[in-house]
Structures are given as structure tokens and as C-alpha cells.
Symmetry: C2
Subunit: 338 residues, 2 copies
């Protein structure tokens, strides 16, 4: 089997690897009708994370179960399933509290930019759809595996409420789906910070009521104008840089909440600044598993179309071009078909 | 009139000053039957905050209104009132959201370690009791002005719930009243971190079910043992140092909440660490004004006795000894009588 392997910054290869098999009795092997590239894959691709050796890439997946280990009880071959980028047992105290990405047995899923994937802790990790989806739903369901669930968590962590005012920092797939999530949760005002035409357009389609193209102090100034000097009730931080976090902190009203899901890189927060601003913070790797049943329903009912974030479709063996397109911001998110 | 003035680290004087008068039409002047020293007064006393000139000390107060400015409508001379350490108009958007300490017109109250005090924005800041309190209630009501309201906010910010598990970091007056607040909010398990006999005793009296005397890694180890490896649902950070914040972060379960009220001194938070721990954070200067009506009721009904934190009573002109006793941790909190 061929799969995607990162060797060094910007050196991503589609090459022959061992086909995935059942290694643990709790594993499943899933056949993937489509896969994709995540904004967070760009961190190692750009050299922001150390690459210690050839690294199997891809952590977003949905597909048909081919084989399960002997201890797998709930998941069966033939089912169409979706799982999170972190495998979880869904029974430990952290899972039961809804934080499956902090599962006491969590394991990172890797190697999903491939035709087949081994998923650990299959019973806890995978959620089966009631019926096999039609092909046109595959991009929507694939998006649930990470970016849609992550945007949803950002909105929940930011305490988005019916009628509330929301700012979304970051116009990548997660930020755009944060807009969609806030809209679903009833936000009245959704201000998307974006400088790119195509992303602004999709943000509006997902429910943004205002676009702020300015950044830095000017961006904050615009947010303050739009909120009569008060700031936003809820801010979704979907980037992970010092600059984006500062945007988020300064856009939030006292007592307002920031949900942060951009993987932080090199950011220290000034505790005294947070203290005097009365900012509420929650973030981390989104507990996608918690939201999958609900989000699957929303996709099947047609209420949400998160697959719209895929604006580039390539054959899987062109994966390197998919990385380049996202790195150069020519594409929001690349879908790959085997 | 004499009042307390800080000149330099450890140089606190009780000396002649101009008596407070109405300066703004929204002011009130209040006569104070008792006043006190706050843990946060120790920051400048110990030289941790710069002292730019002779500084009138004291921000906790309750007493009888003597005089009001011409624009004061709700507050009348003769009323017994309590206010917060920040004056607030109680009408701006931040006040209406319950964050009066972020009031758009907020002003720090200063000079309360004196027989009389000018309070700005009297209508927004002061809450009158229905009846004049008996003398034995004065310490309880005085505690509401800051430490009790601050402990209460810490517990609210930490999302203390009925049946929850709570850790309190810090055994000063605020930490101890955080224990009392968590108890009032129905916490089942309240673990107080304290190494001092008298404070442990008061913590138990206020509702602590467990005491952890260890600090650092050992302290965390004990918390983990007491919570079956999970961590606490709610952690109250009532100190403000890098070490205490680390204790708080590591004591919290994934998805759990930290309410922080210790004024941060020199602390930077590692955002990536918070990210992967799924810790929820809210803190800041407690919006005491929000809680005053409720807490006054609890004092008058006898449900809470926050005045128990005063374990040293001195005449006001002995204020310097009061600072020394708290600095050397011989006293939890000093009450001063004119």
C-alpha cells in the first residue's frame, strides 16, 4: 500500500508502506473513500515542529470497517464509521466527563492520508452511521473527524449562546466551521476576521454577519466599533500564534469567553493581563468524539454542510501538491481521493 | 483626622491627613466602625509593588453614611452600607453583565484604614442593609467588602457545583473564605492546601473535608491520590505566585475549572500546557458588588460567619503592628477599631 510520509520540512512523499493490520485486539482497520490535509499538518510541514524521522501523516478519516480485533464488540465490519484524531476508550473518567481527547488511554491516530488506516480502541473511538452515506455526503462526514468538531468545540468552549456576539479569529477551515457552529448555536452577530476574498465569502455563507479584514490594533479597533466599545461575548481562537491570541484576548468583553483550538506555538500568556481583563479561557484538542453523534445527525439532515471547506480535490498520490496549495494559501483545505 | 499611609516597604504610618469630603456630586462619605488589612496590602508592604509616593492604605469598608453628594439618589445619610474595593456605576454594560470590577468608570477605593472614607459613585458602589446591624455582625459585614466576595467569586469562577470536588490553593483569608463559599455552593469534597495549624482548623470549621499540607510535586501527588488519579472539578487559586498557579493547574481534572483571585505577580502561563490539559480559567478582581445583596442576607440569617477570619483585633492607631503580624503570618487577618 502507498501512504503519505513526511521526511523533512516540505518533503512529503507518497510511497510504499506496510499495509495496516490489527495489532491490538481493540483495533479496527478502516478503508477510506477519501482523506484530507489538516491545517495542523502544516506545522511540521513548515518546520515549526521537530520531525524526528519519517512520519506517517493524516489524522482525519471516515470509511468502511474492514476488520476488527477480537475484543471489539460494538463496531463491526461493513459499518461506515467516523472517528477522532485521538483514539479514546470512551469509558475512563475524562471520557465520561466529555473530554475524550484527554482519555487516560488516548493514542494519536496517524497515517490517515492513505487508502486504509488502523484505528486503536475502535469501540471507544469510532461512531457508526445508521445508514451508509451517499457519496456526496463523504466530504461532510470527513470534516466531522477534526475540523468541524474542532470548530464546534471552540464555540462551546467560548460559551456561544443564543443571541450572543461572536468573533472568530482565523479563517482556516476550523475558523470557518467555528462560524458555522456559532450560527447553529444561535449567535446573532458573528464577526469573522479574514483578509481573503474566498474565505470571507465562505464565512458569510456559513453565517458571518460582519467581516473584519484589519489585524492588530486596527482589527481590535474595528471589533470595538462593531460592539459599541464593549467587546464580544465569545471569541473563537483558531490559529495558535501569539498575535492571534492577543487579537482574541483584546476582542473579548470582561466576563466573556475565549475558546481556543489553534495548537499554540511559542505563546506565553501574561497572567496579570488576563486577570485584569476578566477573560474566561478554555481550549485544547477538541473532544470530537463527544460531538460525533450530534454532528452526524446534522449532516444527514442537511442542517450543516461542513464539507464546503474542501475547495481543492486531488488524487491521493498528488498529496504533495495538496500540501503546497494549503501552505501557499491557494486552498483552504484539500480533499484527497484514492 | 489620622489615617494609614505607606511610605516605603515596611514603613506604614498612622498620621494626620485631610479629612475626606465630598469631591464629586456622586461621592459619599462613610464613617467606619471597623476596618482591616488585606492580604493584597502585603504586596506593596513587602516591596513587590512599586510605591511611587505616600500611599493611603485600605480598601475594605462598611459603615454609616455621613454625607452624600447632590447627585446621589439611592444612598442616604444614616444608612449602614457596604461597598467593594472598586467603585462602579452599576449601570454600564460590564456592570450589567455582573463584572462591576471592570466598570467603564471604575475607580479604586483607597484610604479605608481610617475612621472615615470617601466612596466614589456611591449609588452604584454601596449596598445598604435593611436594618442597622448589631455590633457583633460588623466583622462579618466588613469581610464582605473584599475577602468573602473574593472567595465567593473564586468558587463561582471555578464552577463549583453541588456534589463537586474542590481544591483550594492558599490558606489566607480569601482561601479560607473560598472553602466557606464552596461549602455554601454544595461541594461534597473540599481539599484545603495549608501548612498552618490555626488555618487548617478554620478551614475545617468552614467546611474543608481534607487538608493537604504538602506542596509542589508532593502536594499534587496527594491531590491525585485523594481524587483517584482524576484531579479536582474546581480549583480556587488564592495566592497569585507562579508556584501556586502551577499547583492549581496540575490539581485540575481535564475539563475542570480554575477560579483565580490571587493578584498575579510575575507569572507567565505556558499556553501549550494549558491547551493539552483542558483547563478552564477565569479570574480577576472579584465583582464583589454583584454578590453583596446575597452575601448580606447570608450574614444576617447567620448562614455564614466570614468574620471568623479576623484572628487579631487592634486599635486603629496600632495599624503598623497589624501589618507586621500578617507579614509574619502570626495573624490571618487584622481587624482595626478606631
Amino acid at each position: 500500500m502507498h501512504a503519505t510520509v513526511l521526511y523533512a520540512p516540505r518533503d512529503v512523499r507518497y510511497e510504499d508502506v506496510a499495509a495496516p493490520t490489527i495489532l491490538q485486539p481493540t483495533d479496527a482497520v478502516v478503508s477510506l473513500p477519501a482523506t484530507c490535509i489538516c491545517g495542523s499538518d502544516l506545522w511540521p510541514y513548515r518546520g515549526a515542529n521537530a520531525i524526528t524521522g519519517p512520519t506517517p501523516m493524516g489524522h482525519e478519516y471516515c470509511g468502511v470497517v474492514e476488520e476488527v480485533g477480537r475484543d471489539v464488540k460494538a463496531i463491526r465490519p461493513g459499518q461506515f464509521v467516523i472517528g477522532s484524531f485521538f483514539a479514546s476508550d470512551n469509558t475512563c473518567p475524562h471520557c465520561r466527563a466529555g473530554y475524550q481527547t484527554s482519555c487516560q488511554r488516548r493514542a494519536l491516530v496517524a497515517g490517515a492520508q492513505a487508502p486504509r488506516l488502523r484505528v486503536p480502541l475502535a469501540d471507544g473511538t469510532l461512531v457508526a452511521t445508521r445508514d451508509p452515506p451517499s457519496d456526496d455526503l463523504i466530504p461532510d462526514l470527513l470534516a466531522l473527524s477534526d475540523v468541524m468538531g474542532t470548530g464546534w468545540f471552540a464555540a462551546e468552549a467560548a460559551n456561544v449562546t443564543d443571541g450572543g456576539t461572536v468573533v472568530v479569529v482565523g479563517d482556516g477551515a476550523v475558523g470557518l466551521l467555528g462560524v458555522l457552529s456559532a450560527k447553529q448555536m444561535g449567535a446573532e452577530r458573528i464577526i469573522a476576521m479574514s483578509r481573503h476574498d474566498s474565505r470571507q465569502k465562505l464565512a458569510r455563507e456559513f453565517g458571518a454577519t460582519d467581516i473584519v479584514a484589519e489585524r492588530g490594533d486596527e482589527g481590535i479597533q474595528r471589533i470595538k466599533e462593531l460592539t459599541r466599545g464593549v467587546g464580544a461575548d465569545s471569541v473563537l481562537e483558531c490559529v495558535g500564534t501569539p498575535e492571534s491570541m492577543q487579537q482574541a484576548i483584546q476582542a473579548t468583553r470582561p466576563g466573556g469567553s475565549i475558546g481556543y483550538v489553534g495548537v499554540p506555538h511559542g505563546v506565553m500568556l501574561d497572567w496579570a493581563d488576563l486577570f485584569f481583563r476578566h477573560v474566561r479561557l478554555l481550549g485544547g484538542p477538541a473532544p470530537v468524539r463527544q460531538y460525533l453523534p450530534q454532528l452526524i445527525e446534522l449532516v444527514f439532515s442537511g442542517a450543516i454542510n461542513p464539507g464546503k471547506v474542501f475547495d481543492l480535490v486531488l488524487p491521493l498520490d498528488h498529496v504533495a501538491e495538496g500540501y503546497r496549495a494549503m501552505d501557499e494559501r491557494r486552498a483552504i483545505k484539500t480533499l484527497l481521493r484514492p
